[in-house]
Point group: C2
């Protein structure tokens, strides 16, 4: 089974989540509702709600209970993107103008907070205290990851451990939480909940590494946000770290990449040259190898849950994480 087949099979259920999400964009403040509808309507891959649904599917699959949880998780993700884009001064997200490119920062902060609140209300509507604890912990982990990224900016000396902790917080924690919440709501055993949580966490690590690779490998048009963004922000991601630590370029290109990372306003030509130096160094392939190892760990964790169509779908999602091009 491939990822396309998973999406096709799950589409009717995901559509219900989508409808629930769009309900949350009905706000009476000028402009805000329209832009949120743009952001939410433009999609994204909906991997997190998909994980919530799939993690429940081998067990008691009660869609009415799963929909608010899945919508809540996606809205939490959306809220964190709103603050993230505001912090990065990003202008595009999913090919659409960001809130912060259209509205003043004070409104963007509050709309992000409001979306956190709405996501928490959705999670609370499950009336399951364990789900809510996971949810609150996810928000904490995301902020922790973001703070680590901010404090690590323009530093070229960060370690693999720093990077792993940062992307676990920023991305993998919500993947882990999504799968865990689905499993809890499905009434899985503690061992199965733990296995699905680990599956989600490894998947999320792979997913973020691939995202970091795509930022260096693909064009702006292709990924719906400016390429080379991480380098420009002074954020050392795995490929860049491998490039620098394993000295995968000549002295000139190593110095160039260091300079782009530490310069607070690097020029466009320098950023492009640094991207190309890393792209042709073999660093992207080394990073993808590490992503594949995480996918293998994710697939191993699946051994603990019952074989069947749902497990096959979770496998297909894991494979997709490293094969995707946007």
């Amino acid at each position: 089974m491939d990822f396309g087949a998973v999406l096709e099979a799950m589409w009717p259920d995901l559509k219900r989540v989508e409808d629930r999400l769009l309900e949350e964009t009905t706000l009476e403040y000028p402009l805000v509702g329209d832009i949120l509808r743009g952001l939410i309507g433009a999609g994204g891959k909906r991997l997190r709600p998909l994980l919530v649904l799939l993690a429940a599917r081998p067990f008691n699959y009660d869609l009415e209970r799963l929909i608010p949880a899945a919508a809540g998780i996606e809205l939490l993700h959306t809220a964190s993107l709103i603050h993230d884009d505001s912090i990065d001064h990003a202008e595009l997200r999913r090919g659409q103008p960001t809130l912060n490119s259209v509205l003043p920062p004070e409104i963007v902060i509050m709309v992000g907070d409001y979306m956190f609140a709405r996501s928490a209300m959705l999670a609370a509507s499950t009336m399951n205290p364990r789900v809510l604890a996971v949810f609150a912990n996810c928000l904490g982990s995301i902020c922790d990851g973001q703070l680590r990224e901010i404090f690590a900016a323009r530093r070229t000396d960060i370690s693999l451990d720093d990077y792993q902790r940062r992307i676990y917080g920023k991305t993998a924690s919500l993947f882990a939480g999504s799968a865990e919440i689905g499993a809890i709501l499905g009434g899985a055993s503690d061992a199965e909940i733990d296995a699905l949580r680990r599956y989600g966490g490894h998947l999320g690590m792979a997913f973020q590494i691939v995202d970091d690779v795509l930022d260096l490998r693909e064009s702006t048009d292709h990924i719906g946000k400016p390429a080379g963004h991480d380098l420009r922000q002074g954020t050392v991601t795995l490929p860049t770290m491998l490039f620098l630590q394993n000295r995968l370029g000549d002295a000139g290109s190593l110095a160039l990449v260091e300079q782009v990372l530490t310069d607070s306003t690097p020029g466009d030509h320098e950023v492009t040259a640094a991207v190309l130096a890393i792209r042709h160094s073999g660093a992207l392939e080394q990073a993808l190898d590490m992503a594949r190892q995480y996918v293998d760990q994710a697939r191993e964790a699946l051994c603990e849950i019952p074989a069947g169509e749902a497990r096959d779908m979770l496998e297909a999602v894991a494979k997709y994480a490293v094969q995707r091009h946007f």
Copy 2:
């Protein structure tokens, strides 16, 4: 019984909440923990945690369950102050430098988010879904109030209804939620929970009106934040609204106040003159009359809960709301 006696009686329990709050400031990011400890350590009146405790006290008063809820409510309030100060570019809060006066905005946004997450974790640790639903709704209401304030800025034509909805969201909703959460955790009946929720809401309305009066009546040193702040921000509060709508000044001072409100960078002299015009117009007394009506409604709501020491304390808190000077 007066408010001092309430604080004295409740101090050992409030101290436990205080200790729990300080635990939440242990963060490993540079500077952040120290500033948060400053902000939380500087106090504030701790009215919201006090309400959580007092609302449970006529019923089953289980301090171990109440402490995380009370600390969670105060931390939610603190998180919203962090974002609020960041939006207002405020430099002082509780007489201490604000986070945003010391750290860049991206860190302040994330620390605020992180405090929201920690507050949600505390609320989640009560393992009571109804408490969490109230909690999530409070966060939503606070954001709603803030957005209303932002969108109403520099507009002199707002109505009493606009003002009431804004301060309900910004302030009264969390007072209502604090009392409601205490009552829920105390195992009160639905009618008693509803009565305490109404008590908290009316008290919160009175409290915010008094806050808005103090901003025009007291000196910067006295209230721990710059006086005349609302006028400078272009925010029409109740006294200013009464001054303008009831034409409580001569043509010159009415025009001056309108000008200060609509000017995006009013001069210090103009702000001071506008403050004095409102202060001496009788508008503050008219606003305080409305606050007293809310206190009366809060006290009426208390009729529905059992008489006794706890109810006397809640009465004393209500009376204090309009007598306080900072």
